[in-house]
Subunit: 317 residues, 2 copies
């Protein structure tokens, strides 16, 4: 299967899995469950489930297990977007771009384009702030419920390790901590080291968790292979963020599907503001090279991860 088809297939099975793993819209309290589904279903690039599946295939994991692990990570990601859009945080009224996109593009493109180009109001606009707050809270619980409710590893003790890994990636020493650093850094000039510290937490931790959880769904990998994968995961996590910053700085709003230049307008510290566009691009190239090198020894087994790094670097949204 070529990369494009593989990606579409994983995105589609992730969507179906999320539909199945979220409480149904008619289960009480209906309003909360509908809002959770609104915030999670119907698009997104699903980068984290893609990375989870790619790493899992490398370890020979059952795709059904990868669906669960990928959805758990995606639910944490979705909750973070909902909370991040709240007025006390970034105060976004639109997530997933311009309302005309569904019309302008066909469905398959829309699914692929995902996060950026789908028309959807922020959860707290479509519902209200209190509901959006609870949606995020409940999505986080649901993610941990998933990891405890399905068999994901042959040894239950390994599954406990997986839960600890996701909890650490999501918590104060992971994603939530990175958001705190982001808020504190707004309006300040951060050095490259400080920026990296922020993004290792804010974006990197969950991307790393997606990859490591995927691998742990499969056959135990030798220490050396796990270390390689971890190195790849860390580079890709940063790469994702550098590209995000570049797209925000240079992307046209129309292509990006969200307001370009928002970081600068909000006084956010980014790689572009810290080092300029040209150097940020160089950094992205060198991160991609490091990521490639990290998984070179996997050969054909690392093909999907290799292609995903390429996708992340060349994405326009």
């Amino acid at each position: 299967m070529d990369f494009q088809n593989w990606m579409t297939a994983v995105q589609q099975r992730t969507e179906r899995a999320l539909e199945r793993l979220l409480p149904g819209p008619d289960i009480a309290p209906q309003r909360l469950h509908r809002a959770m589904r609104y915030a999670t279903l119907g698009g997104g690039k699903r980068v984290r489930p893609l990375l989870c599946h790619a790493a899992g295939e490398l370890a020979g994991a059952d795709p059904a297990r990868l669906d669960i692990a990928g959805c758990a990570v995606e639910m944490i990601h979705a909750y973070s977007l909902v909370h991040d859009d709240l007025p006390c945080m970034d105060d976004d009224v639109l997530r997933r771009g311009k309302p005309t996109c569904h019309v302008e593009y066909d469905e398959a493109t829309a699914l692929l384009v995902g996060d950026a180009l789908q028309s959807q109001a922020s959860c707290h606009v479509e519902y209200d702030e209190a509901t959006a707050l609870l949606v995020g809270d409940a999505l986080q619980s649901q993610a941990f419920h998933l990891l405890a409710d399905h068999v994901l590893a042959d040894e239950p003790s390994n599954q406990l390790d997986m839960i600890r890994l996701l909890a650490q990636a999501a918590g104060s020493r992971g994603m939530a901590g990175g958001q705190m650093i982001d808020i504190e850094g707004t309006g300040q000039h951060l050095s490259r080291t400080e920026l990296e510290f922020m993004h290792v937490h804010k974006t990197g931790a969950l991307i790393r968790a997606a990859i490591l959880l995927g691998a742990r769904c499969g056959m135990p990998l030798p220490e050396e292979e796990l270390a390689r994968l971890d190195h790849f995961a860390k580079r890709v996590g940063l790469l994702f963020q550098v590209i995000d910053d570049i797209l925000d700085a240079e992307g046209a709003t129309a292509t990006l599907g969200k307001t370009a230049g928002k970081d600068a307008a909000q006084g956010k510290a980014t790689y572009v503001s810290a080092m300029g566009l040209a150097e940020a691009r160089e950094m992205a190239e060198s991160l991609r090279a490091e990521a490639r090198t990290a998984i070179e020894a996997f050969g054909e087994r690392g093909r999907r991860l290799h292609d995903l790094a390429h996708f992340i670097v060349t994405r326009k949204f």
Copy 2:
């Protein structure tokens, strides 16, 4: 050890355990970790850890395990208070009562009195809304981290059951779901059945989880004993809420340590608004009787649970 001394001892060891199990105030990001500690440490009745220890003792559990399980539940409770105080929810600026209490009472009383009489501004007032949002999010992650990071059961698969139990109790079919129902019910007349449905979720689920997690830290109990304990847990969860409603309706602000009559002012559906004070008191008495009957067969082993039900019914704050 008499009940009063036992209670103080468990409250004190819970405080020490929380101090140890929360990331230190000097670990980056310091602001988030300090705010997490602010929101969690320094008081509270610690009803949930008390119930956890009481149920655990009944099952012969190692107190060190009960500290972990009790703290995990308490972190979920603390996160819910922080989010509940946010302007988009209940918009409370004070949690834990009048600023004069530390001065008016001695330290031991203050510890016992806990939640109600300690002087502390809401997390979003002491810090800011964005930080408070992240505090709640990160406390939830930390709770699940605890349950996966320590040995709590002889079989890791039993520990996975415990994580699933807490996730369900915290999520959309538990506490977060109950808060959604509470918001939807505000300003409306709810029947007793609807009220019970709300509170089984909002308050009951986490109290039940505290008791069941405590028991699961110990020797496996026979099905019949677990069923009894579960019945007790459900009655006590409701009892706690009925008493809460009665205290809000009849308590003087000074004794209660928070503004009395707040439920009525906010148009909240309560047992008192649904059935009147006299009938709510009768209901509390009959719930207490049911709770007692449920654990009668435990004899002396159920003494702490018995005393805790009494404490919950006779508390004035």
